[in-house]
Amino acid sequence: MDNSINLSDDTLSKIDEVVPKYPEKRSAALMVIHLVQDELGAVDDASCEWIARRLELQPINIKELITFYPMLREKPWGRKHVRVCRTLPCALRGSYGTCKTFEEKLGIKEGHVSEDGEYSLEFMECLADCGQGPVVIVDEKTYENIDGKTAEKFADLLIDGKLDESEDFHSYEDSLTQETKN
């Protein structure tokens, strides 16, 4: 297989696995884009062309997806990507303040990546965890009730690289894992 965009063998084998799951190859487009983006951080023109060839499509068939779906990227986010929910239920619990705190602490405006590429911040639409807002997602982990002073503490731990070991913040996903042990 043509590997002109330098994907790892792991990603290539995952792509080979996912495509035949669908009755038509084109249906696999989003899943293949996700796999490419997970590894490369973004899907540039060369990647678009590669995916199109892999699925026997035209590059525009992939490009039009990248430019439509909010989570697909032509340029990568930072190494740590922070999402704060903007929509009404979270806003009613202080998410505008949360976003501002992150902007100040990380030194970037929402929608942007820091100069060193370390952090990026996105003030985005509903993340479907409205009961425990403001909701913040760091990479793939969801944190709840991150408002006011809590947001400041959270941002400090994130910057110090100590979020994972913190006793004060457990993600929605990690609270499940603990239940699984039983």
């Binding site: 779906y69 239920p89 806003a91 009613l92 409205c130 239940e179």
Partner: protein, 452 residues
Amino acid sequence: MSVSTPKERRIILKHADDPNYSNRIGCYLREGGYENLKKAFSMQPGEVGEEVLKSGVRGRGGAGFPAGMKWKFLDRKSGKPIYLICNADESEPGTFKDRQIMYKDPHQLIEGMMITAFAIGAKQAFIYIRAEFHEGARILERAISEAKKAGFCGNNILDSEYSCDLVVHRGAGAYICGEETGLIESLEGKRPNPRIKPPYFPAVLGLYQCPTIVNNVETLCNVRHIIGMGGEEFSKIGKPNNTGTRIWCVSGQVMKPGYYEFECGSLTLGQLIFDVCGGLRPGRSLKAVIPGGSSAKVLRADERFSGTLKDGTEFDWGLEDIPLDFDGPMAAGSMSGSGGIIVMDDTVDIVEAMANVNAFYAHESCGQCTPCREGSLWMRKISQRMCSGGAREEDADLLLSVAKQIEGRTICAFGEAAAWPTQSFVTKFKEDFIRKATDSPKERDPKSLQLI
């Protein structure tokens, strides 16, 4: 009012928060999991469908259409393969129930889906899950592989002739993929521009132009319980035309927001807010409630709702008296939608709340229909201007005029979803909109949170 608030009745979420229960197949089997699949496979597919019809279960995704009826519409004469899709896009602001099911009890969904697939004769089934549920997709993948190993899914299910593969498909952050024809386009690898009905009713011309059933996560889980207890028994839960339980997702300004499962119609909106959710913060009073996800029309705390219900009984309710089922919020001129109840207290700047919702719909419009693409954008711009010191008295009417030009003029129901918030906020809180224009700008009340 608090005299007779009923207890939760957890059917769908029975095990969700049990510390001794995990999302692995062992726990599910220990609690009688997949027994109902076996029961369904001892029946004829048509009989399974009849039970679901008899149960009266209505779709939990938002529209509340009877699921058994939806299945009846399937075009079986075409000879084309039939597909089943679970709509797990859960993207209506205020809704977070499907998340609890998929993360905490995924096998329940798989069992419900395999029973449904068997009943409709599906060749293949998909779970379309929103991409923000990273771990949710992994949990489902793992659960499916556990189910496959045990013979509950995939090839020759329960050693029968019937096979049906189940594939987890991730979206990529677009709200419109929750609309079933948009979802189908997305699953075909295209931009999720919804299709026009007629002719593109999924039950006739769905995925790959084949007959397709799209059901919500909670609906499909209900199928499992319907087969377990029988359609007749299920129909006794709740109220006529409002059968089963519903998971109400309460967010916003209450003391104990969260998800609560009750028999349909067993409690009122007031009981849910003031008893179950512990009421409002000290010193606050209720200003408004959006009862069914952000696209549902807002209800004003001091509104009266009167009229005649379908069964002929007359009603005269305050907001707190509205029964929580499908028909109650509908009779009050709104809808129970996906069960997302957003509560606002008297510190809320109502124009900002509307501006927040308008920003959501402007961002999420797919852009296919001009009235929606342009209208939602202008509603956002006007309401944002109003909140940044540029409000004019005529803006209320201008907003209403834009909203009116969207409603009913679009391919899918997104047009209504975008128009209804503006129409209801402006009509019901007109004085707040006028005040924005007439009162000179002043310091924000420190208690009032910024919403836009």
